[in-house]
């Protein structure tokens, strides 16, 4: 879960809070000078070192705040992702839905879903992925979670997207059969998702 600025102010000690204030000011400066985005903008270097200054447990939240404050355009977001550590990539993925990018950042989600790094897979199926992955891509993301043992609770808007999805139900059934044939356990989350795919009963006359 991401922590808000107000909560962070209460959690961070003096030096870390001062560091965050300066970093956010640099991010705000970048937002108000969008053309000056050459070289290594100071806030982007702050984005990389956020964990050292604010604590690794707050790194996701601090990086998210910086992104929201800097409002980077797609090229800068892509650069932060592509040149980022796994932790930085994760923070980008967790914040995409707050950056007013429409569906244009979907390639970053697709990249994360090609990895086998569960930190990235889990972040890729958050709000942005749930909003923008097409049906085929989202179904494969569900299977990827089951394969890599990412808890299905990481899948944002799971009931809504899985509800009535007969093709997803077929894929889950085939996967369960494959596991059973191999004498291997079926992931616990599979049943959870499968149950969600059952179409809601059609409304009856009396209910109308």
């Amino acid at each position: 879960m991401l922590t808000s600025r107000e909560e962070l102010d209460g959690l961070l000690r003096g030096a870390a809070r001062a560091w965050l204030d300066e970093a956010l000011a640099e991010a705000a400066h970048a937002a108000s000078h969008p053309g000056a985005d050459s070289g290594n903008p100071p806030w982007e270097l702050r984005f990389a070192s956020a964990g050292r200054h604010c604590g690794l447990e707050h790194a996701d939240s601090v990086r998210a705040l910086l992104l929201v404050e800097a409002r980077p355009a797609l090229p800068a977001v892509t650069r932060l992702y592509e040149q980022g550590t796994a932790a930085e990539r994760r923070a980008v993925l967790l914040t995409l839905h707050r950056l007013d990018l429409g569906a244009t950042a979907l390639p970053l989600v697709e990249d994360a879903l090609r990895t086998n790094d569960t930190r990235l897979v889990a972040a890729a199926v958050g709000p942005y992925g749930a909003a923008h992955l097409d049906a085929h891509g989202w179904r494969h993301a569900v299977l990827k979670c089951l394969f890599t043992e990412v808890p299905v609770e990481a899948l944002d808007r799971l009931p809504e997207r899985a509800g009535g999805d007969a093709e997803l139900a077929r894929m889950l059934g085939d996967f369960a059969s494959e596991r059973t044939a191999a004498g291997r356990a079926v992931p616990a989350g599979l049943r959870t998702v499968l149950e969600l795919t059952v179409p809601a009963p059609a409304p009856t006359e009396e209910a109308r």
């Binding site: 290594n40 982007e44 270097l45 990389a48 070192s49 964990g51 050292r52 690794l56 790194a59 592509e82 040149q83 980022g84 550590t85 796994a86 932790a87 930085e88 990539r89 990895t115 086998n116 790094d117 569960t118 930190r119 889990a122 394969f147 890599t148 043992e149 990412v150 808890p151």
Partner: protein, 282 residues
Amino acid sequence: MRIFAPHIHMPSRTTDDYQAMYDAGVRALVEPSFWLGQPRTSPASFFDYFDALLGWEPFRASQYGIAHHCTLALNPKEANDPRCTPVLDALPRYLVKDSVVAVGEIGYDSMTPAEDTALATQLQLAADHGLPALVHTPHRDKLAGLHRTIDVVRESDLAPELVLLDHLNETTVRDALDSGCWAGFSIYPDTKMDEDRMITVLRNHGTDRILVNSAADWGRSDPLKTRKVADTMLKAGFDEDDVDKVLWRNPVAFYGQSGRLQLDIAAPGPLHEGNSILRGGE
């Protein structure tokens, strides 16, 4: 016994190696960026490699209860290839990453002017970023290479206590220690140093500022050489505190100068936070 592997190349190792390293006591490692065994042809190849050292390889290591850190640099050999040298311009973006604990491997391969430039430039980058430097000493003409390396370090802004001179042997250890730098020894099955010679070095030069590694690259190598040195030390009469100093406290002290070591990795288990990838995907 706890072991810090201060110089080891992991993409060439299997998951069995990670398990064997954990079983041998390895709880932390530093992976320096280096040559791949074949030439790179562009900076993009370095960026993919840096990605692995900052993302995937730490993830693999964490599955086996091993904290993974790295050092990043343009290596000495490829400092001679103009297709690769532009990576120097991108290094400042990468040296700020949390798990980067030094600039390295830098140093000399053939002692060319291009290598002079890359070494001096990257020692300055280390000084600018508050990072130590891991300096490879050349395999050919090693003693002359060591002297030239020490001269360049002296001319740099980086203090000698922030420099680890690596791949040393009997002919280079004295001058390396006298320079004020830290002294690294790579233990290999056939080349560089072996366990018994390492014991003699430790007897003659003590345990201060000395690090031992297995390097373990794509050539014939053994990732457990660190443990074998520890066992040989105990058989030779060193005590457990000596072993802990050379195999743990010294590398922690050296790389700890970065302020970026994170050694509180969780114990490995069949599930780590519920999402283990022990098999790396299927």
